[in-house]
Amino acid sequence: MSFKGSTRQDAKRLTLLLLFAPFTLWILLLVVLPHIGMVVLSLREKVAPRIYEFGFGNYIDFIQEPIYWNTLLRTGGMSLLVTVLALLIGFPVAYYIAKLAGNRSKGALFILCLIPLWVSDLIRAFGWILLLRESGIVSTTLQKVGLADGPVELLYNDATVIVGLVYTVILFMIVPLVSTLDGMDNEMIEAGYNLGGNSFTVMRRIVIPYAMPGIVAGCIVVFMLTAGSYLTPILLGGKNSSWFTEQIYDQFIRRYNWESGAAFGFLLLAFTSLVIWIGLKLSGQTLSSTVAKS
């Protein structure tokens, strides 16, 4: 009997082990190891061809070169702006889907929101280019309608980059928001009104605090995705798009400088983590109460 019991226990443990193995391997091989490798790589200084020394030279270079940290700050600032815009646009959409839409249209709307995900980043960016270029659809339409005298160039500026990025990432804001708001009992909103709150109060004091885990989760995902995006800012930003990922790419590919590329990569990770940490502190949330929950 006891023998039987122990084999069963072992089998259970084995099952658990097997279930977790892919996840553990994934984390270990694709997340932990590369990052350790990156840190190690970033701490190598090139002194001559094929000769490297341990040192912080790559990080010192970063600090001494304003172009680099300006670009990082610019990337961070624009990513924050994108996050805020995605939240401002995404919240009403999510609220409509979760609370106002009927049961049948809810699913359809949700799917509708997911459809753009089926198209690759690249194709989406090219879509924007076709629309917005000087000889593109928007420009020609504006001229035909008579709203513009000559061709209008809508590409290659920060506003376009931000619009493109918001469009790309907004789904990742909507999805956690819908799932949080969906879990909110309608009674809660009615109680908010019943106790004397107007729409603004109910939104500010009840719906938003309730949705906070979803808001924070969405913001984290969106911020990380934006700060780490490559194609959209490059393709839509044109000559003035300085995005930090582009600099990482340049270090790795154009300048064969993997050491400093690795340092940049690590700095981007550290910087975005810092921004998120500050954001969590300011909003009084914790990772476990937000991302884990929603």
Binding site: L29, L30, L33, P34, G37, M38, V40, L41, P49, R50, E65, I67, N70, T71, I129, R133, E134, S135, P151, E153, L155, Y156, I234, L235, G238, K239, N240, S242, E246, Q247, D250, Q251, F252, I253, R254, R255, Y256, N257, W258, A262, G265
Partner: protein, 358 residues
């Protein structure tokens, strides 16, 4: 060593074709777009039924990054430009020496062959032979910008917002020549070269207002040029020739200081596994009828004797419309890039990109 090979591979997500290790008869080509068109591959496979050809499309920078990530394995034949071999070999040891006895060098244009060999000889071993060559220069729509003659004209205010360039070392070098410098000579003294780069950067930052956008590849350049959004640009000659076929007003303009010429070569990656097949490919594509096919698909000129006559008629017309004999004599072949120069140039390019302009 594991660090060097495994991790960066994962990091960069370089998609390697890890197949076919068992069969020595797969030829894995790392080359440029249009350098191995399907019709040529079909003909090669028909002539050599035991060889399969796999093609990975890339450019100079990515070729080197990929080979570096794997320590020179994963591909059997690569086609970097002639100026990108020497330093990369010194720093990262990506290639193995060629056995020239297995290549029919007699058909190759002697000047190009010796040029490439001089550029890529290390410790008495030759690492590359020429394949296709072409130039970088200017392209203009004659009706809109008839007076464009030099690199600096891209910054002429009368074309404000109507010109383009690719932000790479080509435009740095071209602008340097345009300013009366000789950057290739300055390679010997990197301080002097840095001084030139600083001057070039100032000029190109000031020029930024004139630029509509920096093009990234042949497709977006073509789109801007054909739609009339720009009237002139820095360009590869092959792109200009292609556009000439669609709009005869768009011509390649060799800059007054000389078009910059590059030669794409054949080199064997250090851990390539199908050397014999690679040599077969090199000899196969040097045959006159194949040369014509390659020129047709790539727009580049082969490094074989009489290559001009082997050009397909439309390309020949475009070349004749662009080049005079003087222009050909004035070609500036890219000089070998000494170690460290790429880093200096990279920094300069970043500076230009990050500068706020129009």
């Amino acid at each position: 060593m594991t660090m060097k090979t495994v991790l960066p591979t994962v990091l960069l997500g370089v998609g390697l074709t890890c197949s076919g290790a068992s069969s020595a008869e797969t030829l894995r080509l790392l080359t440029w777009g249009n350098y191995a068109p399907d019709n040529v591959i079909d003909m090669f496979e028909a002539a050599n039924p035991d060889i399969d050809v796999e093609v990975t499309l890339s450019n100079n920078e990515e070729m080197i990054a990929k080979l570096r990530a794997t320590g020179g394995s994963g591909f059997d034949l690569a086609q970097p430009s002639h100026d990108r071999i020497y330093a990369a070999q010194l720093e990262y040891e990506l290639y193995k020496p060629l056995d020239l006895s297995k290549i029919d060098t007699s058909t190759m244009t002697p000047s190009l062959l010796t040029g490439v060999q001089e550029n890529t000889t290390i410790d008495g071993e030759v690492y590359a032979v020429p394949h296709l060559w072409g130039t970088s220069g200017l392209m203009a729509n004659k009706t809109e910008a008839p007076d464009l003659t030099g690199w600096g004209d891209l910054c002429d205010p009368k074309y404000k917002g109507k010109t383009s360039m690719r932000l790479t070392r080509t435009i740095l070098l071209g602008t340097a020549f345009d300013m009366g410098e000789d950057p290739f000579a300055a390679y010997a003294d990197l301080d002097e070269y840095q001084a030139i780069l600083d001057k070039v950067a100032d000029k190109l930052i000031a020029c930024k207002e004139n630029i509509k956008a920096y093009w990234q590849g042949g497709d977006d350049l073509s789109a801007m040029m054909l739609s009339g959004e720009i009237v002139a640009s820095e360009t590869w000659d092959s792109t200009a020739y292609k556009l000439y076929g669609e709009n005869e007003n768009i011509v390649f303009v060799p800059p007054a200081t000389g078009a910059l010429a590059w030669i794409d070569t054949f080199a064997l990656p250090r851990k390539g596994k199908a050397d014999e097949a690679a040599y077969k490919w090199i000899n196969f594509v040097s045959q006159p009828e194949i040369v014509t096919l390659l020129s047709a698909s790539s727009g580049a000129i082969a490094a074989v004797n009489g290559a001009m006559d082997l050009l397909p008629p439309d390309k020949k017309a475009a070349v004749n419309a662009a080049f005079t004999d003087d222009d050909v004599a004035n070609l500036k072949f890219f000089a070998n890039i000494p170690p460290g120069v790429e880093d200096m140039e990279g920094k300069t390019l970043e500076k230009i990109k990050a500068a706020t302009g129009g």
